[in-house]
Subunit: 384 residues, 2 copies
Amino acid sequence: MNYFSSNFKLGILGGGQLGKMLLYDTRKFDIYTCILEANNDAPCKMACNEFHLGDLMNYDAVYNFGKQVDVLTIEIENVNVDALEDLEKKGVKVYPASKTLRTIQNKATQKLFYIDHDLPTASFSRFAFTSEITEALDHESLSFPFVWKRAQFGYDGTGVKIVRSMTDLENLPNVECITETLVPFKNELAVIVARNASGETKTYPVVEMEFHPEANQVEYVICPARISDEVSKKATDIALKTSQAFNHVGLLAVEMFQTQDDQILINEVAPRPHNSGHHTIESSYTSQFEQHIRAILNLPLGRTESKVGGVMVNLVGAEGYSGDVVYEHIEAIMKMDGVTPHIYGKKQTRPFRKMGHVTIVNKDLREARKIAEQVKNTIKVISE
Amino acid sequence: MNYFSSNFKLGILGGGQLGKMLLYDTRKFDIYTCILEANNDAPCKMACNEFHLGDLMNYDAVYNFGKQVDVLTIEIENVNVDALEDLEKKGVKVYPASKTLRTIQNKATQKLFYIDHDLPTASFSRFAFTSEITEALDHESLSFPFVWKRAQFGYDGTGVKIVRSMTDLENLPNVECITETLVPFKNELAVIVARNASGETKTYPVVEMEFHPEANQVEYVICPARISDEVSKKATDIALKTSQAFNHVGLLAVEMFQTQDDQILINEVAPRPHNSGHHTIESSYTSQFEQHIRAILNLPLGRTESKVGGVMVNLVGAEGYSGDVVYEHIEAIMKMDGVTPHIYGKKQTRPFRKMGHVTIVNKDLREARKIAEQVKNTIKVISE
């Protein structure tokens, strides 16, 4: 098929920032692209060939959109999988596959998948309702502390809680969930694996999520991770094995823990471009967004090496501000060496909302990390 | 002024490939952007906030468009300068300034500008009509060979001819023109100077245009140029002096000849992003398009160093093909190391039409140059 002609149509489910950044590269390759998205003000409104309004969880919306395109991909996991399955039967190429999305959408089935495929992950228990956890505690089949995770519809850290006592359990929603052993880890790592339909596979360098020592929030994504070659190889091998287990086409971002004794445990996966790969736009030979497009169109994959060291800082809405967004001191950070802000184009800020990100690149990674800290301490996402 | 809010509007005159690539970065910064363009199928149709149809040489079209924006820039020199002058009086920030465009639009006034400002350029004569050249030849104030250049409305090498005999003169249009001494040069070089309204100035590394030994056409743009530090410094200084002479805001691409005895002569300038800077998207810390936006919005300029060596190949329509475009063997070049095709999105190809470009980056510039040759010998822009 000739992707570089207007007879070909690529569909994307979701019109947020990931879709927006995918559009940079569909534009670069001049690939005809259609977006389905529920929010008429979404960042993807521009730069696509067709913008369709619709609910991604609605069967008819997804099916009727999908049957108009040749290849269908996602920028968010929470989409109607039944529609995708029927589209696959109709001959639409759906990447990631409906089967993969069904496994990943539910954290319990995702964990079972790792166990079935001999992929290392923290041990866990599955509950139909949060209220059943109390019973398990009574029977001593579970003990504090543990990690509670909502099985479905969590995102950006919502739906995850460290539970140390009965009090922590009290305000959790009574939904399907899992509990996981709390793993004391040295590092949180991630590897993005790209694989095209022909089976060509490439991995990006391992990145490290550096946490704020007190707030327990990811502050910086650092590429390459400051870890030994041995740990790096182990993490890369596990990520590759995971992509193969899913028989995945497109990008698969594999988030992992490096334990105190240097074991690697899979935390979770995302079958799409991922926050941990945003730095690739500036730091890599091939941005993750271009790579995702290459993979799902079965084009040859691009080089995944870094040109320079990269550090990424998320721009999230500051606490105490809601309303029309202002990027305070953005000019000051643009003065710093190798700094590129990405503004997603969401009109309204609210506390912790992802409004953009900043990439800092430098041949010397330590220098990039230093500048990243200055960026973090300078720019503030507030309201008018 | 807060550029990162929807109260600010940036206007661009022209909606071709340069405008399209500017839009990558207005999207990245979420800057509200309006395009004026005569072709309803232009590459810029998408990814701008407002697309206005109109003739760039028409006073009313340009004036009425320009009065709606805060900052106005161009992606092509042939626009109505009277309208720009009146917009400046009205308080619209126009970069490049109408005065600069008026000087540059006419090759005779452009040459006089260099002489007035003590900037080195090949000696020349000015003619109101091509027919007057014969008289100068008769009076021996001019002799073969020389370079004939149309004073106005030339682009991409049209409007330039090496004249070696009376026969070469015969088919030239009878228009205002200049004749220039034919300079036997070692290299054609270019330097892009960025300057913002506050006067902050940065230069990109000198690039070299490598010519096909027989066809006398630029085949590769190579960054950095394979020249001595001394020549590089001389070219950079002259480019800087040129930008200062124009009191220029935005990008100024200065094309120069390196003569056999290592003198630098200015060939011509372009007050905007330029073909010789396309490689910066992949090779530099800051793409020329982002830099142009930074400069005209008076934001701090980004780093202009290269991350890696870069070579650029233009994708022009092959001879003998006109009609719906096909990029033959594009998948084969995407297999090569560090290769990124840019497809401009023009639906129709014709011989020599600029349809896209390909950038090849590599830490080893010689390797990039080798791969560029493979790219050139592989991809072909033909019709269906």
